[in-house]
């Protein structure tokens, strides 16, 4: 490929890439803000996951019963507080 042919090919590449970049689109992807409610719902999923893990580890014999009960109560309290806030936000 000679230098001139190379530059012509480069020019064609440039035109194609500019056309792709600036081609008018009717709809642009929206940039919605994530809300506090979205965040709390994600956190709820994680807390459920933590509870399931705790149950499974107890049944696998990693915790004595009293430790398991204490930790489950702690996690359930946290989940309850979260659920209350979710309810409040959903009502509003």
């Amino acid at each position: 490929m000679t230098e001139t042919q190379g530059l012509i090919a480069g020019g064609l590449l440039l035109i194609a890439l500019l056309a792709y970049t600036f081609w008018p689109e009717k709809v642009s992807a929206s940039q919605l803000e994530k809300t506090r409610l979205d965040y709390l719902l994600e956190r709820k999923e994680q807390l459920y996951e933590n509870l399931r893990d705790l149950n499974f580890e107890f049944r696998a014999g990693k915790y004595p019963e009293e430790e398991f009960e204490a930790q489950r109560a702690q996690l359930e309290n946290e989940t309850a507080r979260l659920m209350a806030e979710i309810e409040l936000l959903q009502q509003a």
Partner: protein, 668 residues
């Protein structure tokens, strides 16, 4: 093609710059809500498309370079210096990353490819992806500036164009070298993606930890590539350099290990953030450091700051990298200071004896290992700068510091799975640790009975001592991990009434991340056993004439002759050695010494016979100039194949961890 390639690189730079600037303006407009003549969403979309178009432009440039190698276009300086007509086709691909300019093209192309995938999947979280895309564009602008102005790959040769090129470095003319550098680069470059997501999430004060879930697969894939790249490099060094070892603490080897260590720490500590909202600042700085270490590694290898079998000649691009790293660090510090209130942990560590704290300890130890390696690697540069004399740090120093750190990490790897989340009592610890500790002591006693001698003539034999500790700890860790599988499977078997194999399969399916991670840990243990084998390496060297014998271990090597061969690329001398054991002929080995025609450089091709217990490793070292007799060196390296088997297990484990777990709704 040179004109086309240069033009394509300029177009790629312009598009990356537009992606960076237009994307940043659009995100600023969206954040402040300022009115503008153009819709910020539309502007952000053109920026994203410029990123995709930029990938096409870099692909065109990379294609032009590969085409020029295959067309033997020696008017291009890079092609003349790194290829020749007789070079086999697959090594012509290697020419793309065998020199500084070409390897920077590969860097930019891989970054473009990662960015391409990221920008195509932007609907997962449009705003977060827009931030990450702009940050990646910033990194890309830097690489394209270097390629266009400091290390142009299409620079033309001045004066007469030679009929043939200088050829590819003989060290790189080995099959693994066709895949090792791209894999390593996929790992290096890939860490730009989690870095971009972490910095972007911090800039936009991303609520919650979902960005970690989004980037998890990116981080694991990147880690997988880097792991495979590092170990392939070890295997290449073992098979090509001919010194009988696989890791020499070379600065370039170290450069690949540094981001691997911090990346491994990040993979573990993000779990704390995801599960409990802990260690947010720590994680952000871990991924910032990992990215900066990949840059440092690239600077060390590409900037010619250190001498190594892998590094390139001194070049001005080291200063470009230094300025870029300072700039990145400044942006990271500025963003962190501005947004640090967003990184407050939601909870505290509840107990020092818990899964969380063992993970934190492991993080600290990984960072300590990384610091030791950074210090040892940079010490020659710092000593030359401060004292005026280059003081190099040898393998003995690294081994003295890194081996105990590695063994402590192994210990933590065994302790971690046995500790439950949040905290536990002494009673639980005692119950969970009985089996692993028993396995550890049984193994130590078995090793002592088998002849491992940590004390020799009243003095500590460090190699044997560390090997004994490694074998003992490995047994303990393996038992701990296996008991995790068995205890979990027992619960499922009780629930379902099915057999253990089915239960173990279900267990893995239900939590691929955790049990895939355990497979990776098993792989690490197997690697450690392989590494510990090096304490028992043996070697013999002898001048061999026809029918002379060399004995090593239970093998006897008889010289059956020497022969020569040549092709268009190289000439080679072989030694033909019959290997016998107890008088019985087993196989023939043919270690080789090549001289490449284009460069006139010699190259050793080692003959290796590998079995589970050891490798018989034979090197033809050439002839003794005084006696004119050929010299053969043989090594008996125990357990080396365990290293490569362990790596395969690590790869398998990562692939399992990458698979989605069975949905929570279907569980229990």
């Amino acid at each position: 093609m040179a004109a086309f390639g240069s033009f394509a690189l300029l177009v790629a730079l312009a598009l990356a710059a537009y992606n960076l600037l237009a994307g940043a303006v659009a995100l600023r407009l969206l954040a402040t809500g300022q009115p503008a003549r153009i819709s910020p969403e539309r502007l952000a979309d053109t920026a994203r498309r410029a990123g995709i178009a930029g990938f096409a432009a870099i692909t065109a440039a990379a294609f032009a370079l590969v085409w020029s190698v295959f067309a033997n276009d020696f008017s291009i300086t890079y092609i003349m210096e790194h290829s020749n007509r007789a070079l086999p086709g697959w090594y012509k691909f290697s020419a793309l990353w065998s020199g500084q300019e070409g390897s920077l093209v590969l860097w930019a192309w891989l970054l473009g490819a990662y960015g391409f995938v990221l920008r195509l999947t932007h609907k997962t979280d449009v705003k977060l992806y827009a931030y990450a895309g702009v940050i990646l564009a910033g990194v890309q602008v830097f690489f394209l500036l270097v390629l266009n102005f400091a290390a142009p790959p299409f620079a033309l040769l001045r004066g007469q164009i030679p009929a043939d090129g200088n050829g590819l470095n003989p060290l790189l003319q080995y099959p693994e070298m066709v895949i090792h550098p791209p894999l390593l680069y996929l790992g290096y470059v890939g860490f730009s993606v989690p870095f971009a997501f972490a910095l972007g999430a911090l800039m936009m004060r991303y609520p919650g930890e979902k960005w970690i879930k989004i980037t998890r697969a990116w981080t694991m894939v990147t880690w997988l590539f880097l792991t495979a790249g590092v170990f392939l490099g070890m295997h290449w060094a073992y098979a090509v350099l001919g010194w009988g070892g696989y890791w020499g603490w070379d600065p370039v080897e170290n450069a690949s290990l540094m981001p691997w260590l911090t990346g491994t720490a990040f993979l573990h500590s993000v779990m704390m953030q995801e599960k409990k909202g802990l260690m947010k600042s720590w994680n952000v700085w871990l991924i910032f450091s990992t990215f900066l270490l990949t840059m440092l590694g690239t600077m060390l290898t590409r900037g010619g700051l250190v001498s190594s079998v892998h590094a390139f000649a001194e070049s001005p691009i080291g200063y470009w990298f230094m300025v870029f790293m300072v700039l990145v660090l400044a942006v990271c510090i500025f963003t962190y200071i501005l947004q640090r209130d967003h990184l407050q942990s939601e909870q505290r560590l509840e107990s020092l004896v818990s899964r969380e704290s063992s993970s934190l300890f492991a993080n600290l130890v990984l960072l300590a290992a990384c610091f030791v390696i950074v210090w040892g690697t940079l010490y020659p540069i710092l000593s030359e700068y401060i004292e005026g004399a280059k003081v190099t740090v040898d393998a003995v120093w690294y081994n003295r510091v890194a081996v105990p750190i590695g063994l402590f990490l192994l210990f933590l790897m065994g302790v971690g799975p046995l500790l439950p989340w949040r905290g536990t009592s002494f009673k639980s610890i005692r119950r969970n640790f009985v089996l692993p500790v028993t396995a550890l002591w049984v193994t130590v006693i078995a090793c002592l009975l088998a002849g491992v001698r940590p004390w020799h003539n009243g003095a500590l034999d460090q190699g044997h001592f560390y090997a004994l500790v490694a074998f003992g700890l490995s047994a303990g860790v393996l038992t701990a991990i296996c008991s995790e599988f068995l205890r979990g499977a027992l619960v499922i078997a009780r629930q379902s009434g099915r057999n253990y194999f089915w239960s173990i399969f279900q267990l893995i399916r239900r939590n691929t991340r955790r049990y895939g991670g355990y497979f990776v840990h098993i792989g690490v243990v197997i690697v450690v056993i392989g590494l510990a084998g090096s304490a028992f390496n043996r070697s013999e060297e002898k001048e061999l004439v026809l029918h002379d014998k060399l004995t090593i271990g239970s093998y006897s090597l008889e010289c059956m002759g020497f022969t020569q061969d040549s092709n268009a690329n190289y000439t080679s001398d072989y030694a033909l050695l019959d290997v016998r054991k107890g008088g019985k002929m087993l196989f023939q080995m043919a270690p080789e010494k090549r001289v490449y025609m284009a460069s006139g450089q010699p190259q050793t091709m080692v003959a290796i016979h590998s079995v589970v217990a050891w490798d018989l490793y034979v090197v033809y070292e050439g002839t003794n100039p005084d006696t004119d007799q050929p010299i053969i060196k043989a090594f008996l390296n125990p357990l080396v194949s365990w290293i490569w088997a362990g790596v395969m297990m690590m790869v398998l484990g990562t692939l399992v961890a990458l698979m989605p777990s069975q949905r929570a709704g279907n569980r229990e």
